[in-house]
């Protein structure tokens, strides 16, 4: 059953795959940027500042997705004691952190001309900042705890604490009055974004997903090399 997790086989994939992913990423991001910056129409209300959304929303989705994946992987790793899960989780974290920062910064840039403020302490924005702190705690924990068994338990616990924040982020705009607008896209109802704007949004999401896969593969590859060099740590 665990043949798939053989380090040598994975290493073969992670050392070759990045260049193909990079090529695909460049293609998708060029289409996405062209759609988002030139071809898509301006908004009736906010005119060209709507284009910030094409970076902001995908970044926010990806960072939420990555944290959820990290949690599921850490829990699986803890329950089954397969260390590879932890390695995958650890390698996913940096791109999640980067996209979290991107979402906060672009949101701030968008907020200034539209809302009239860089920052407010409403539920959505504050919970997003809490997620950023959890990413930082998670990544720092990997660095400061030397003992292998200890670090696996601690990072799992951190992700479990952090994952409670994920539904809070998602539903904060529905549960409480927030300055942040409610979700425009829902699985169950018609989206309130016009199709001509939805298309670039989806392309940009695909591009960002590819980017995080790329960073993940490179990071994972490095982790595997580290283990090979040490020669004592077995997956």
């Amino acid at each position: 059953m665990l043949k798939f997790f053989e380090p040598n086989k994975i290493f073969l994939i992670t050392s070759k795959a990045p260049k193909y992913v990079l090529a695909l990423f460049i293609v998708v991001i060029s289409i996405g940027l062209m759609e988002a910056l030139i071809l898509s129409p301006e908004d009736y209300k906010q005119s060209h500042s709507v284009r910030i959304m094409y970076v902001h929303v995908p970044a926010a989705w990806i960072t939420l997705g990555i944290f959820t994946s990290i949690t599921l992987l850490s829990i699986s790793g803890y329950v089954t004691k397969i260390k590879n899960f932890f390695l995958i989780a650890k390698s996913l974290a940096p791109s999640g952190l980067v996209f979290n920062i991107i979402a906060l910064v672009t949101g701030s840039i968008w907020g200034k001309p539209t809302w009239g403020t860089w920052w407010v302490w409403d539920a959505r924005i504050t919970s997003m900042l809490v997620l950023l702190l959890f990413y930082l705690i998670y990544l720092i924990a990997w660095r400061i705890f030397e003992d292998k068994n200890q670090v696996l338990k601690i990072t799992t616990f951190i992700t479990i604490c952090g994952v409670i924040n994920i539904p809070i982020i998602k539903f904060s705009v529905d549960w409480w009055n927030t300055l942040h607008q409610p979700a425009s896209i829902s699985i169950f109802s018609k989206s309130s974004i016009h199709p001509s704007m939805l298309f670039p949004l989806m392309i940009m999401t695909a591009a960002f997903a590819l980017f995080s896969i790329l960073i993940f593969l490179m990071k994972y590859n490095t982790e595997l090399i580290k283990i090979k060099n040490k020669g004592l740590d077995r997956l």
Binding site: K45, V50, T178, S192, I193, H194
Partner: protein, 139 residues
């Protein structure tokens, strides 16, 4: 296929998760007052006693209610049930307009009069090109 230990660890995690969710839920429930970013005009109506504390009121800018005099902007915030008069001097954000969302920060003079020191525009979840908006408006 899975040993007893694996099952135990699984339930251990589930119980930790459940207890954390419950405690966070309780904390948020009790902090509800502070988690909401703004009050609606109806909430203001229900306040027992006026406090001289800075508060935020949010809702829609009532149609045809914006009056701009020399350096003052007056308008009405409504939630379609109750209304509140707002006066403000300063620059309003780009998205501030009639029939759109707004959050005003400032002090209540009385239950239907609010003096704002800051105005924030609240955007809604609708995104569409101007032509589509026009077409919708003509319907």
């Amino acid at each position: 296929m899975y040993g007893r230990k694996v099952k135990l660890r699984f339930f251990f995690i589930i119980f930790i998760l459940l207890s954390l969710i419950l405690s966070v839920f309780m904390v948020l429930r009790s902090l509800e007052e502070n988690v909401v970013y703004f009050k609606s005009p109806t909430d203001v109506k229900l306040i027992g006693e006026l406090e001289s504390k800075k508060i935020r009121i949010g809702g829609m800018v009532k149609k045809n209610s914006i009056e701009i005099s020399s350096n003052k902007v007056n308008f009405i915030i409504t939630d379609y049930k109750n209304e509140i008069n707002v006066t403000y001097s300063g620059v309003v954000p780009n998205l501030f307009s009639e029939g759109k969302g707004v959050v005003a920060e400032g002090y209540l003079k009385d239950k239907s009069f609010f003096e704002a020191s800051k105005i924030l525009a609240k955007h809604d979840e609708n995104y569409m090109p101007p032509e589509v908006k026009k077409a919708l408006g003509e319907k």
